[in-house]
């Protein structure tokens, strides 16, 4: 069930009515939300609802055990053991579904290279949608309880935290400390929250259904499918187009998730903050997929030692974190290279900050933005390419300037694709927090006026969207 479909629209309207009708009992309301979330998830594959429930129960039970064990010295080993069991269990689920096939392929290729000709079984494991998100969510709950940053919660709250349909399949990764306190009472709805939520849904729908979908089908997919068949003009447009597509696609999901949760009375954290206006890669990661980057920082980078061992250790930790962050996206060498590129540049930025001669000038902000954007685009080429060879073919084609002015009509890039890329990029230059500010102002309108305006916006989006809708890019992760 995809957000930008009528089927989901009807599902949500019914849930909105039922959830608020049940506001007399918080427990029943949460049970209804949980059941609805399982229906939503089961629409892909009912078998994986059991996996979701099992994962929640295991994390809840281990967290309870950790919380009930006093943190006295004799029990420290037992508590650590429970945490390790939980983390390993979560990683085992992720590894089985996501990395098993990749691992066997690599082992097989290595053995073949060494002359040991044995065929390994080919595993066709179906990847449960959103598995990376809900396992990370479960792990963060467990670790937070262990560290004393979150109080242990009841089974219903933990299961709802991990299953809540709004963030279930593509984030944001909402921490227990952010959401579970909101589950304790029936949430309050305000006009400002509802207006902001509705605007985020409409804005997300526009970014996904109009900008991202059109760029994908009209430019990015054909160019990345066969880069060798395209000249430099199409490849440059495709690279920039993908940067806009992935931003509009992923931030649209987050916007809609935040908006849907807001209409049910819950607040999710911000997940994007105009990332392409970042003047360094460090700044980029404070603005892009914020819930994942802060997860990696808190549970991986800091666990590895963070900055505590000095500059070189910090650089090593940055590299490891970004390599694993790349692998989190999928079992493929292109994701590893993407992570390695980000890790290398983050480490280089750190060394530059540390060892830059004081007399040397700093980079002007606009140049920093330009350089950072192009490093990010370079990473996206590996991220999007079907294989390493395809990415290399794409990069080598960027210098193939053989455009015949008489044959401009044969280019894959079109005026609309250029216009949408520019429109997507120009959103980065809008005043920060624009939607929030608009929500606060529009909440003062009469309901009928706001409803009519919303209807007009949705009608325009509907008229511009292609038939059907492709799944969000991050569903595959």
């Amino acid at each position: 069930m995809l957000f930008p479909t009528l089927t989901f629209g009807l599902f949500f309207l019914a849930l909105f009515a039922v959830a608020w009708a049940a506001r007399g009992s918080n427990e029943w309301r949460k049970i209804l939300l949980l059941a609805a979330s399982w229906v939503f998830y089961g629409a892909w594959d009912w078998r994986f609802v059991a996996l979701l429930i099992g994962s929640a129960v295991v994390n809840w039970a281990l967290a309870q055990q950790i919380a009930e064990t006093d943190a006295i010295i004799e029990n420290k080993r037992w508590r650590s053991g429970l945490l390790i069991v939980g983390v390993v269990a979560n990683l085992a689920v992720l590894g089985t579904f996501k990395y098993c096939g990749f691992f066997l392929e690599q082992v097989s290729a290595t053995l073949h290279a060494l002359g040991w000709q044995r065929d390994f079984p080919v595993l066709q494991v179906v990847l449960p949608v959103g598995i990376s998100f809900f396992t990370f969510q479960g792990m963060s709950y467990l670790i937070d309880v262990y560290r004393g940053r979150t109080a242990p919660a009841g089974l219903l709250d933990v299961t709802l935290l991990m299953s809540f349909f709004a963030h279930l399949v593509a984030g944001p990764i909402v921490r227990a400390s952010d959401l579970i306190p909101q589950f304790r009472t029936v949430p309050k709805l305000t006009r400002e929250a509802a207006a902001t939520g509705l605007l985020l849904i409409a804005w997300g729908l526009f970014k996904k259904a109009v900008i991202a979908s059109q760029l994908a089908t009209g430019l990015v997919d054909p160019v990345f499918f066969d880069p060798a068949a395209h000249g430099a003009a199409d490849l440059w447009a495709g690279a920039y187009g993908y940067a806009v597509q992935i931003y509009c696609d992923f931030s649209a999901y987050s916007d809609m998730a935040i908006g849907l949760a807001a209409l049910l009375g819950y607040r999710f954290p911000r997940n994007f903050d105009q990332p392409y206006r970042a003047a360094s890669l460090q700044d980029f990661w404070r603005r892009w997929h914020i819930s994942l980057s802060s997860w990696l920082r808190d549970y991986l980078y800091i666990s590895l030692g963070g900055n505590r061992g000095g500059t070189w250790i910090a650089c090593r930790n940055l590299m490891i974190t970004m390599l694993l962050g790349g692998l989190w996206h999928g079992a493929s060498w292109t994701f590893v290279i993407w992570g390695a590129l980000h890790g290398t540049v983050l480490a280089a930025e750190r060394l530059w900050r540390e060892f830059r001669p004081r007399a040397w000038p700093t980079l002007p902000a606009w140049l920093g933005v330009l350089v950072t954007f192009h490093i990010v685009c370079l990473g996206w080429i590996f991220f999007r390419a079907e294989s390493f060879g395809s990415a290399v073919a794409f990069l080598s084609g960027l210098t193939r300037w053989d455009v015949d002015p008489a044959a401009l009509g044969t280019l894959t890039v079109t005026p609309l694709a250029l216009g949408l890329s520019l429109a997507g990029l120009s959103t980065q230059g809008l005043p920060p927090r624009l939607v929030e500010g608009a929500g606060a102002r529009l909440a003062r309108l009469p309901a009928v006026g706001f409803g009519l305006g919303l209807g007009v916006v949705m009608l325009v989006v509907e008229a511009m969207r292609p038939d059907g809708v492709a799944p969000f890019i991050y569903y595959q992760f």
């Binding site: 305000t190 509802a194 209409l263 401009l408 706001f450 409803g451």
Partner: protein
């Protein structure tokens, strides 16, 4: 500090685009429901083509036949009344923009 003593805080004010509710607004639910009902009714009237397209894509079955017939009849009625005109005009303009090539010709 043991886990049981952990201090749990709600999401910080600036951490979410959604403003925190300081107090319940009695009229907010009615206001939100009205907004959603008006927008839905507006789209039902002016965007009947999407309803028809959705119904056509449903799995064939006894229940869906009735839904499809009703959606077809509704879309036909809205078209007859000229209410699908704005969407059709916008959609035609969009298709033209999609087909335009870099040399100014139409790819169609």
């Amino acid at each position: 500090m043991s886990a049981a003593d952990a201090v749990v805080q709600d999401l910080a004010d600036d951490a979410s685009p959604i403003p925190a509710a300081r107090a319940a607004e009695g009229s907010a639910l009615a206001w939100t429901s009205t907004v959603m009902a008006v927008a839905t009714a507006f789209l039902l009237v002016f965007n009947a083509a999407s309803l028809k397209s959705w119904a056509d894509g449903l799995e064939p079955g006894p229940a869906t036949v009735a839904v499809r017939d009703a959606a077809d009849a509704w879309a036909a009625r809205m078209q007859a009344l000229g209410l699908s005109g704005p969407r059709d005009a916008l959609h035609a303009g969009w298709k033209k923009a999609v087909a335009a090539r870099m040399d100014g010709t139409s790819g169609e």
